[in-house]
Structures are given as C-alpha cells and as structure tokens.
Symmetry: C2
Subunit: 108 residues, 2 copies
C-alpha cells in the first residue's frame, strides 16, 4: 500500500529499467517505443514502467499523433534528493550518530 509521496517516489526509483528510462530522458523527449527499445521486454511491459514513473510524477506524457512523447519532470527527483540531504552530516563523517545525540543534549 503505497500511500505516501516518498514511498511512490523511491519505489519508482528502485527498478533499473525505470532508472534507465529516466537517464534516457535526459537527452530530451522520447516516445514510448524509443524508451522501450533498449530494455529486453515487451512494449506493454515498458509501458507499465512508464506508467509507474508517470504516477510518481517523474515523467509527463503528451500526445503527438499516434505516439506519446515522454519528458522528464525534475521536481519530484528534487523531493527525493532533499529528503536524502537530511543525512549529509552523517555521510560526510562530520557527525556520527552518537555525537549528534550528545550535541543535541548539550544544545537543548
């Protein structure tokens, strides 16, 4: 049951096919067929992946004749990135979890 926005986002990003599609979209708009081509799977399968990306707000589609052009929407990627940056201090080694705790006790 994926209800939270971040759930949907991170779940969408957890599949290599979908991350590949996002990477392909860096080059600009692409049709569903073009996005599907590099991935060894049926067109319908690829279309479902695009559906996941679209519902996660990562991709936007517009009709162009009988094809559908997909483009990247960066805003949601930013939400994910913002969430991750909460922990910048930890991976920078500037803080270790215990240090943080002590510091907060001291400051509070």
């Amino acid at each position: 049951m994926v209800d939270n926005r971040l759930d949907t986002l991170f779940l969408a990003l957890s599949d290599p096919t979908r991350r590949g599609m996002l990477a392909d979209l860096k080059g600009g708009e692409k049709t569903v067929g073009e996005l599907a081509a590099p991935h060894r799977m049926s067109l319908a399968g690829a279309s479902k992946h695009l559906g996941v990306l679209t519902r996660a707000g990562l991709v936007e589609q517009r009709k162009a004749g009988r094809q559908r052009l997909c483009r990247l929407k960066g805003e949601r990627l930013r939400e994910a990135s913002d969430w991750l940056l909460q922990w910048e201090d930890f991976w920078n080694g500037r803080l270790d979890a215990l240090e943080t705790a002590l510091r907060e006790m001291g400051d509070g």
Copy 2:
C-alpha cells in the same frame, strides 16, 4: 529480483516505517525494541524492516548483552543522493530536457 545496489537502496527507502527508523537513528544508537516501539506493528515485523535496512547497508548492528544496538550508516545514503544529484540541472529549471538535447547537439 533486487540485484543492483541502487535497487536495494531505493527499495529500502520506499517504506515509511523504514524511513522513520532511519530518522529515529539520527539521535544515536537505538535498540531494536526502541526502534520498533513507535511503529504499530509486531516486534518481529519491525525486526524484519531492520533486516532490510541492514542488508541495504543503511544500518549496522552490534550486540550488547541480549539486545542489539543499531546505528545509522550514512555511506549508502550518499550513494542514493549522488545518483539523484545527476538531475540537479533539471529540477533547478536551469535546463529542460529539450534544451539539454539541443545544447548537446550544438556542443557535440
């Protein structure tokens, strides 16, 4: 079939209970029981979530008597963050997908 490192990472982050646990670990080391308490679910369930976090490399456990102390490991969060920062230009509005394509054609 979660084989890729990023798959495991993003999948681990796609659950609100697990993100909550990571947040709780910002305050320093916590036992499994302490991490489980805020989440309305059995201890075994919470333990499984911690297993997911551990296998994703986001959490490390050490034995302390009969309890297990968990602490946050930032490195993997950084991997996820690094991956996301690829798209910084897009969400900053500095580039739009089409622009990028045109620019690359011009530069190449």
